[in-house]
Symmetry: C2
Subunit: 387 residues, 2 copies
């Protein structure tokens, strides 16, 4: 996973800030990425019906397809704070815009952390005074990735060359912040020139087949956000190459997120084939990677294929035929008979990336989903602390 980490290709026209503004004790808690010109932008948000205030403000600001500046704080998520929360998120945008001499709706805000606590607006506003002089160029995406971390154990970013343009993609999660739920944030920055609608389509497809195929614990954060900015400074780019590279970056970040999930020791990649359609394949895949009994079996290498069957069968509204189901394990897919369970157990135990391919032999629907194991450490991280 970590072998993907690189900042070899930095898109033009971006500057950054990553500081401690006093929300956390010492470590970085505020990150800003600023584009020298407004960028075509697309974003996708949490499906949770309770949405963080920054999500609501961000949705509004990206409405015209243009964003110039991203401002993210960690540790306090500004969720479930009612009208006050919305006003706070908007106020941070206003102050950021004032300092940069740009319009407020060019600012995209994010917050991640504990729910139900007021955003420390003064600390943030104080930290961005004279923001123009504080922004560094070339931008430092590594410290930005650090500033948005919660219980992540390493900052997550990748960079890609796309023709004459570059792409940086950053993500955080799926970790816990004292004391709250996992939040997934991911931001993509490029200097390629892409129209807003094409950008939206490409990014939607990438997000849907990567981050949306990931589940750590089936709990959906109120703050999930995926954002892409394309400021166009590197000129036009081959669209299919661009699509390929955005997807590649999304997959690499998705794997990092699963791998760094709370308490996880194994990445679990499940391919569903032969489903009635792709949607059913994804539902069945999600049912498997979300099953506590499957996740605990993966943890200690229990070759308990009965639990996989159970998870397939409990998926609502899908078509399966028990007799036709085939299971293959490993990067080079292999069937294991009941006499070979010991060797299957050894494969699971000795691998940090577990591959499972399931052929339902119904039609040609396929999907790949990303999960992880469930360990005592997950319980500890999420149970033992006092607010």
């Amino acid at each position: 996973m970590k072998e993907s980490l690189n900042l070899d290709y930095i898109p033009k026209g971006y500057s950054s800030l990553a500081i401690n503004c006093g929300i956390k004790d010492k470590s970085l808690d505020l990150g800003i990425i600023h584009s020298e010109k407004p960028a075509n932008a697309a974003a996708f948000f949490t499906t949770n019906k309770i949405k963080g205030a920054p999500v609501l403000v961000g949705k509004k600001h990206i409405n015209d397809g243009l964003i110039q500046t991203l401002i993210v704080n960690s540790k306090v998520s500004n969720v479930a704070m009612g009208k006050k929360g919305y006003e706070d998120a908007l106020y941070v945008c206003k102050k950021t815009a004032e300092n940069l001499n740009i319009k407020t709706d060019l600012i995209f805000p994010s917050s991640t952390g504990v729910i139900g606590r007021p955003l420390p607006v003064d600390k943030i506003v104080n930290a961005i005074t004279n923001l123009k002089t504080k922004l560094i160029h070339p931008p430092d995406f590594k410290t930005f990735a650090e500033a948005i971390m919660t219980t992540d154990t390493f900052p997550k970013y990748v960079s890609k060359k796309i023709g004459s343009s570059s792409l940086i993609a950053v993500a955080k999660g799926a970790g816990m912040i004292e004391p709250n739920m996992a939040t997934m944030l991911t931001y993509f920055f490029t200097d390629a020139e892409i129209e807003a609608e094409a950008l939206r389509k490409i990014f939607h497809k990438a997000v849907d087949n990567s981050f949306n195929c990931l589940s750590v614990d089936s709990d959906t954060s109120t703050s999930d956000t995926a954002l892409i900015l394309a400021n166009g400074l590197a000129g036009r780019v081959d669209l299919s190459l661009f699509e390929e590279k955005v997807f590649e970056a999304a997959i690499e970040l998705t794997k990092m997120l699963a791998f760094d999930a709370e308490g996880a020791t194994k990445l679990f990649i499940v391919d569903i084939e032969g489903a009635k359609d792709n949607e059913q394949a994804k539902k069945i895949g999600k049912s498997i990677i979300n099953s506590p009994l499957v996740k605990t079996a993966i943890y200690q290498g229990d070759p308990n294929w009965g639990r996989i069957y159970m998870a397939i069968g409990k998926t609502p509204d899908v078509e399966i035929d028990e007799e036709k189901i085939e299971l293959f394990w490993g990067k080079t897919p292999k069937k294991y008979s009941n006499d070979e369970l010991k060797s299957l157990s050894e494969y699971i135990k000795s691998s940090r990336e577990i591959y499972l391919k399931i052929n339902l032999n119904i039609k040609d629907g396929i999907s790949r989903v990303y999960g992880c194991d469930l360990t005592e450490e997950y319980v500890r991280i999420n149970a033992f602390y006092t607010t």
Copy 2:
């Protein structure tokens, strides 16, 4: 929970057998309850699309609304064994019927345990030779309840007086059997005289509002079965009293199951009020008791109400208004402000039964659901063993 355990009222006309037939090493693994005459019967089964062979046979045999004999083995579930599994389940029924001189379709079979292993048919058939002479009367429901246990830590049964008739209800689960998924089995026996259709309706309502409101880990077994027999020997009974007592027994067993769930230390009872309708209330309740982040918070008394909000909000297709949600904790419901979180934490930490009432203030839909906490012990029970 255990205070409900009693066998004060034994319905007439039943006899029993509980023995070790050699599937387990030493402990009881085969239980039979036999009615001296065919009983009106109703049953409900797992919604998992992969169903155990005994479920398929049982469904067929109960089709005419009459059952006389229940035969249950533990340790091997006879699931995912294809045609052979079905034939094995049917063969056990045939042999049981032969020994009792009754028709095969009066036999109701159940199995619970590991998936994907052949049923030890010979051991079972051997054990039921001369079954008539082995059945004891009055029946011993306690040893029967023991014979169907997997990782349950205590046998689960209640008895009720209903006018001149009696009711015994028995359950097992939601425990693990080496090495498989939780299976919930529950059997109700009465000597009341109830027509099959009325019995079905009353039992359906009771099951739907008790066992179907229970979730230990969101995993649905392939063998779940709820069965009621009414042999009529005690004559007619007041139907509304009967309905009330069946529901009472179902709720008491449901609480026992949640309390005895794998690794659980706390029973978590959640009342949803003010939902758009009862169905939405149940969905939201299930989303809460299935959330790993809520379950871990309950475990160590983390007063993290943000996780409750998250779980409400992630429920698919329900109507909520974040601003209107109210949370009340305790058997005598009490609101806790952010300044009182320490006292809320103490309530959760010090209680073995946690009560949470949520008013959504939308309409008048209500539901009560039953769950438990998620502990390291759950992970251990389900992760650490070798097949």
